[in-house]
Symmetry: C2
Subunit: 385 residues, 2 copies
């Protein structure tokens, strides 16, 4: 048992262990290509699956997330999982009631097969030989994992940002297996501005000579390019106001302007730190593949309208946007809600007022907790189909 | 005489010539450093200075601008100057009435001395030996140019974006020499979000191995890094809405998704083009120095409040913001207007509703024309001090 953050009196999460499932059939992808077998899914679970197997919730991570949602891998871990504030006893996703599962997305670099994995066909890391994926492909790999775990029906699929896209995709790809979806700070159609930021971030990686068209080694990785890419992304996760409040025009480690090109404003120092830190835990090629999957995410693609995408959907929805999120702004959630309503789908929509920008979904967990508890209780109270 | 754009019936601008003024005294800078002599200012003029020398307007350019505001250098020029829509006979800044001057900022790369110029002390290009400049330093160099031209008082100082910052600085540095200021899409205090974008853009240049700490040659310049830097900037000049309307999720030169990393969305293609094109006309070190000058721009710096900055200012102001400008949003113009009002300064403030984002100041010239004509006529009607 590990104390949670600085509040040891809180109920706490157990020590958790990342598990791995390996699949021996190739995965057919939306592009028509296949991911060769064997491939692996890394995942973690929290809480206990009930006898009726009816309390399982799939948590879906965002761009830089992983399977390690909550708790610690060892008592020595400095930090808990990426959504520890939301997942645990009595929290927004209550491990005393629900069985939670989270897997690293396919294409990732945190245990699931991705471009840094060895291609079984060549014995070399995939690099750019890894097939370009979509959010629907990520969901297919997750479905195989659920089959393996013997879970037919999910009480809910839950995610923020790209996690919200996966949640939406789940309700469409497997309507019979999903009873509800909680979609946070997400969009049903990635905007050209978001594509633009992702493309510029990718260009920063391409421009790093260490990238070598994806054929780098872990020791000689394109860290400079990946760091710039992450810095670009990070600006889009914050809001103008939160940056003013957090940093203002304050200098870092200096009393007055230096008239040079050293990192001097606190906001620069923060971003540089975020960028550099990211390169210690993330793979540049995975960044390329995952941002590309995000760019491709458009539920209206190949359909007459966005509403058409939800024609066969039966899940109930809780859609949450955040007022200062300018990456996937509230109006994009509203477009999603309208598409759901046009199909007569049961949807609760809340715009949470928050200054934290896109990152709000990771920060405003207290305000999410009441909503998600009541929503999940209501979904659980309805007899499963 | 050259036909203007595609409207040959319009009154037209003459063929113009860039002129150069060289100064033999070092320029003392805000940092305490000096720019060694001799240094050069490139400038252009339009219209005719009247006998009373009372109709001169100084136009101040933004980050990537130059002295070539309007007209063509030769009849063969494919495009006119950067603000040709606003400057000419009968336009917002009427060359039949006013004598217009625009110079390339010091630190620039379009004729004025900048980091790519030869350092007279070493015989080598300055590179990072060029002193870090501020907007106030740009203004001091412009003042020397006006002295050389024999112009004591300006009817107006006019600029958008960084040009607006220079206009503001002029009213503060030389209150007796400026009768009015037209400040478009600008801010009195650059926000941490803007600093963040500038810093990430600079990081993209630093990360290019051809940059070599600024010691590159023109033939082996850090074009990849500069292109990424420009792409980052360019996103901030547009609005989410204008991108949706201009590009949407449309593909460029493809009928369907390619499932590869080629540039495929129209928005990507546009930005890449903008980035690459920029490297043909702009110097990477100048980009570093000018963005740093922007980051340093904070008229409240070293003062108790922003209002204090305008205590000695006597100019009349026309302040214009654009509704969809999220780089220097309307609320920043409003903060400026409040600071002016607190000093009892005569200010007209207009927020123009436009979807073109920060770039609106270059595009919405028709809507500016009426405002600027009436404002300038009113200023001109008041007897000069």
């Amino acid at each position: 048992m590990v104390p949670r953050n600085n509040a040891p009196e809180d109920p706490v999460n157990e020590i958790v262990k990342t598990q791995h499932a390996t699949f021996d059939e190739p995965l057919k992808l939306q592009s028509g290509a296949t991911l060769p077998a064997p491939f692996t899914m890394a995942y973690e679970t929290y809480g206990t699956l009930n006898a009726g197997r009816s309390n399982a919730i799939l948590i879906l991570h965002a761009l830089s997330g992983d399977a390690h949602v909550a708790g610690r891998h060892s008592a020595a871990d400095r930090k808990p999982g990426w959504w520890d504030d939301a997942v645990g006893p009595g929290r927004a996703f209550d491990t005393d009631k629900y069985f939670l599962i989270c897997s690293n997305v396919i294409g990732g670099c945190q245990g699931s097969t991705g471009p840094s994995s060895v291609n079984p066909k060549t014995g070399e890391p995939f690099g750019l030989q890894f097939p370009v994926l979509t959010v629907a492909d990520m969901v297919e790999a997750q479905r195989l994992l659920l089959d393996r775990l013997g879970i037919e029906t999910l009480l809910s699929v839950v995610g923020g940002s790209m996690g919200g896209m996966q949640a939406l995709q789940w309700t469409i790809s497997h309507p019979a297996r999903v009873r509800s979806a909680i979609v946070l700070a997400a969009t049903a159609q990635v905007s050209p501005q978001s594509i633009a930021f992702n493309e510029v971030a990718r260009q920063a990686i391409y421009a790093d000579p260490k990238w070598k068209h994806g054929k780098y080694t872990k020791e000689e990785a394109p860290k400079e390019g990946l760091s710039v890419a992450r810095m670009i992304g990070h600006i889009t996760y914050l809001s103008d106001r939160s940056m003013r409040e957090k940093f203002g025009r304050r200098l870092q480690e200096r009393q007055k302007l230096g008239y040079d090109f050293a990192t001097e404003f606190a906001v620069e120092s923060y971003l540089k730190h975020q960028g550099d830190h990211f390169t210690q835990r993330f793979d540049a090629n995975t960044f390329l593949f995952i941002t590309k999957a995000i760019d491709y995410f458009d539920l209206a693609h190949g359909r007459a309208s966005l509403a058409d995408a939800f024609q066969k959907v039966t899940a109930r929805f809780l859609v949450v946007s955040y007022s200062s999120d300018w990456l996937y702004p509230p109006e994009q959630s509203e477009a999603l809600v309208r598409a759901l309503l046009q199909n007569g789908i049961d949807v609760t929509y809340v715009e949470i007022h928050s200054d934290y920008g896109h990152d709000s979904f990771l920060i405003e967990t207290d305000r999410l907790a009441g909503l998600s508890r009541d929503f999940l209780a209501r979904v659980a109270a309805v007899k499963a189909p």
